[in-house]
């Protein structure tokens, strides 16, 4: 049983504050990620793009499945690798997105439903 002591109250208050701030930060990151998505990804992944060799997959529920459309594990590391190095006919974004931008983009991809 948790007893309400002054120290527990203080800890709870800090935890709540951290969650609120964390939530705000995550939301801002996702918002920046959406701007990056609209700029770099939407034209292909939200096609149609008839003259491309292959229609790129839609990215809703990307992290909900066990595997990415490529068959690789649906992990953040794999998604980051795919964006940076490219995959098959998907171009590499190597040197064109900062680490922060990659974080923001992935944060937004996690929200795509």
């Amino acid at each position: 049983m948790i007893r309400l002591s002054p120290s527990n109250c203080l800890a709870a208050a800090f935890t709540s504050l951290a969650l609120i701030l964390g939530g705000c930060s995550s939301s801002k990151s996702s918002q920046r990620g959406q701007e990056l998505f609209d700029l770099h990804c939407a034209a292909c992944h939200q096609g149609p793009t008839p003259d491309l060799k292959k229609q790129p997959p839609r990215l809703e529920h990307l992290f909900a499945a066990a595997q990415l459309p490529s068959g690789a594990p649906a992990t953040e590391a794999q998604v980051r690798k795919t964006i940076v190095e490219g995959l098959r006919t998907m171009p590499a974004f190597d040197k064109r997105l900062s680490e922060q931008e990659l974080d923001d983009l992935i944060a937004y991809l996690r929200t795509l439903k």
């Binding site: 770099h40 939407a42 034209a43 292909c44 096609g47 003259d51 491309l52 060799k53 490219g86 006919t89």
Partner: protein, 308 residues
């Protein structure tokens, strides 16, 4: 006053008219599947003969990153009015799933830096000229020249592997992949034609990068490289080759702004035709087959007669 500059009263009138016209044309727009994206940028060049302006523009979310590229402007009066140095706002209108695009509702928002210049002329090799003998290196590290394919009809284009614009390099490579696949069905067509894709980005697009890129478009069948080369050259020779084919490009923040060009070269090694703004995969494939057939029979093909 500049006729393209908008005053507050005309803006209000335009808004009312736009709403009225918008209501009237909604059904038509829905049928033609056009999309509009707002553009803001600086006019660098204009070319009256091709009805194009080259604009250094900001990011256009959903359509294009910030870059410098040519856009068609269908209204000749607008082209006549615009000058290099003008800051503009406009709508990029796309149709045919983004493969066709042009500017509409062009407004000059700042003309203080404009400079009156002569229209820019593209100085590329004439149709009928011999293809330049600039050395290239392919995906296997093998050197070759465009003139090495005598006896074959040749289709050449330019891309860079990191290009993220689906209506630019990925589209060109997708179209070449379709042409390669179609020609591969007939051994004679395969033997009498060749495709070459040349990179604008020799620093990044090394032979191993080009090989990986090429295999993705060849369904991992490396035998396809005998019919389709992916090549690069040193920066100095790339500039010479681009000038010869009338291409413009420059690098900025790991992004290469460039114009597009597809060049058809005859089995005799002469330039037959350029496509720079509008083409279809079928049109390219037909022209290539026609050239290949002409090379075999010695007849002058229709495409060569029409060109120029």
């Amino acid at each position: 006053m500049n006729p393209l500059m908008t005053t507050r009263s005309t803006q209000i009138l335009q808004t009312v008219l736009a709403i009225a016209v918008g209501i009237a044309i909604v059904p038509a727009t829905a049928c033609t599947h056009t999309k509009k994206y707002p553009l803001r940028g600086l006019v660098l060049e204009k070319n009256v003969s091709t009805s194009e302006i080259t604009v250094k523009h900001e990011d256009i979310p959903g359509f294009m990153l910030a870059m410098t590229m040519p856009y068609k402007v269908k209204d000749a009066a607008v082209i006549a009015e615009l000058q290099p140095g003008d800051v503009i706002a406009a709508d990029v209108v796309t149709a045919n799933n983004g493969n066709d695009y042009w500017l509409e509702d062009v407004r000059i928002t700042d003309e203080s830096a404009r400079k009156i210049t002569k229209p820019v002329a593209v100085h590329r090799l004439d149709v009928g000229a011999q293809v330049p003998g600039i050395p290239l290196t392919n995906q296997d590290g093998t050197s070759f020249r465009l003139g090495d394919f005598k006896g074959k009809a040749l289709l050449v284009t330019f891309i860079y592997t990191r290009c993220p614009m689906p209506t630019f390099c990925p589209r060109l490579s997708g179209q070449f992949a379709k042409i390669h696949g179609d020609l591969s069905k007939t051994p004679d067509d395969l033997a009498k034609t060749h495709l070459v894709t040349i990179s604008f980005d020799p620093k990044y697009d090394t032979p191993p990068v080009l090989r990986k890129y090429g295999l993705a478009y060849l369904d991992d069948n490396s035998a396809g490289f005998s019919h389709w080369d992916f090549a690069s050259t040193n920066p100095s020779d790339l500039r010479k080759l681009a000038d010869a084919f009338g291409l413009e490009y420059f690098e900025e923040d790991n992004q290469i702004s460039h114009t597009m060009d597809i060049v058809l070269i005859s089995p005799a090694g002469k330039i037959v035709k350029y496509w720079a703004t509008e083409w279809t995969t079928a049109e390219l494939e037909d022209a290539l087959r026609e050239q290949a057939k002409a090379g075999k029979t010695g007849q002058q093909p229709q495409a060569q007669k029409r060109a120029g």
